[in-house]
Symmetry: D2
Subunit: 175 residues, 4 copies
């Protein structure tokens, strides 16, 4: 099972729109997937689900189980303060280690309002996933100036960016 | 004013002990400092203090103000999953940008149970702080195998690790 | 064809010994490979084989062709000044881009006299290879304190480090 | 003494033009500097100046001495294959360690034909210089699409990019 993670808990984010677009592109290739939206984390996640409370938050445990069972992941990663959103790493810190990631595979997509397209965020995440034993697809689209390349109401991407995602999917399926 | 950040919200962490040791080492040099313990973040921090709710959580606003007023920072950074704790980046994401960090200076200390001493965590954090316009002291002790080098009840470090921290302080004060 | 790159041009390096050990471990699994030793680069490589002179140095062209034809790579990477040896990146800069690496796969092994095991070197290299479109196996052994773990005359590794390499090979063959 | 390093040995590079522009901007502020051009490395640098031959190449020894005596450095860094040019790291590997860099200060400028402005190159270099004990100024201009922003014959930058360099100099002098 493929799982697509929308890596921010900001309401109405571009990331969740992109996750939906990605979901549909996978579907066009005959691949079923499931979206995990970090907006759905429990409000008290930081104090109820980590460390010695790992596994004790029933709401989070559903998401945790979904992550554990997945075979492949797509992470849609917006750039916050020069890296990924903190909530994404906090989410990773609450997952079952190392079984959630070891010997699995993932694809990363970066996005930013500015010009960098989350390049450093993807580099940092790759370090983390490699540490966790998960292989990261080399082809990682960096969708810079995303606001000028997405129609939020229609959930449509510019042709160029849709091509990037399709090229990634074509590499990711046999990976 | 110097602020020392204990960069995890794990209860009873080594990081908060190290923060206290650092506080005392600074005091020995005649430097006053204040500790920010991420254990003190509001339970619902992720849903009440970020993005469009930035500045609306009164409990967090005190910590936010302390960070804004500080001139120099020390970050005590444990290694979680090959990088820094997610809660640290979530904390950074809630601070006033860019005024909290621009043109200020910080020192980083890494620690780990294992052999790496949070080397990649410090590299990632340096990227983030440089992006935010904050200068990072080059000398960044990596305290690997920390459990064998700290006496938690006495809040004492091994001579070698205390020397590392003192050398850092000697470089950081005139930085 | 597998190619193993010994990533330094230092004479009598540990890296070339490790490359030979790796060669034999692959052979035990029935895999033929070829070693590229950066000691064999032409003396005037920097001035005769790069940029507008790309492809003009006949000695280097043999190595360049070997790299171009390979399907999988193993890089044995010693830590120099907190990253990989400069000569390795200079070597990469002279290869045919992007055909040498795109959509191929590689495995990285780090080594150091000290405690880090070339962790940052492997992170930097992963960034570079991902940029070049080459997938990097997540499992990247970091052989710290290498001098205490290798018998240079017998070309023997400590049991622990040999196990790391064998585990990597077991993951790399089907990758 | 300030030293400006043009970090490639490619003939007629944009980097050496930028180094000259930087030299003049420093001069306008009353700061004398000296340019090290990696084009001036000996042709056989890789085989005559590194490791056990460190300090034995008389041509290189002049550059090595200049680097050793400098108090502050500016590195003009073009993006090659997703990072810095290999020759730059090979140059660093031949310098006197750690005296060349420890407790000194540097400023980094990235440039690229493409959109990234050498962001990862600057991140990797910062890791290396921090390892060597040299403090890196946080403000690191990334001059993307450099060809559209420089007049090579007149050695003139676009107003925006000249402003970036001037802002960096204003931060670097008191650093």
């Amino acid at each position: 099972m493929y799982v697509i993670v929308s890596s921010t808990n900001r309401q109405g984010s571009v990331s969740i729109k992109l996750a939906t677009i990605y979901f549909n592109l996978l579907k066009d290739k005959g691949i079923d997937s499931q979206i995990i939206d970090l907006c759905d984390l429990p409000d008290d996640y930081l104090s109820s689900a980590l460390y010695e409370k790992n596994g004790l938050n029933k709401i989070f445990n559903g998401q945790r189980e979904t992550m554990l069972k997945a075979s492949k992941f797509v992470f849609i990663v917006p750039e916050y303060n020069g890296s990924f959103p903190g909530v994404l790493k906090a989410f990773i810190d609450g997952l079952k280690f190392p079984a959630t990631f070891t010997d699995k595979k993932c694809a990363l997509v970066g996005l930013s309002s500015g010009q960098q397209g989350a390049g450093l965020a993807l580099s940092h995440l790759t370090d983390i996933f490699n540490y966790c034993g998960m292989n990261v697809l080399a082809y990682r689209p960096r969708l810079s100036n995303i606001k000028e390349n997405i129609n939020m109401t229609e959930k449509m991407l510019s042709d160029q960016y849709r091509d990037y995602l399709q090229r990634q999917i074509d590499k990711f399926i046999p990976y």
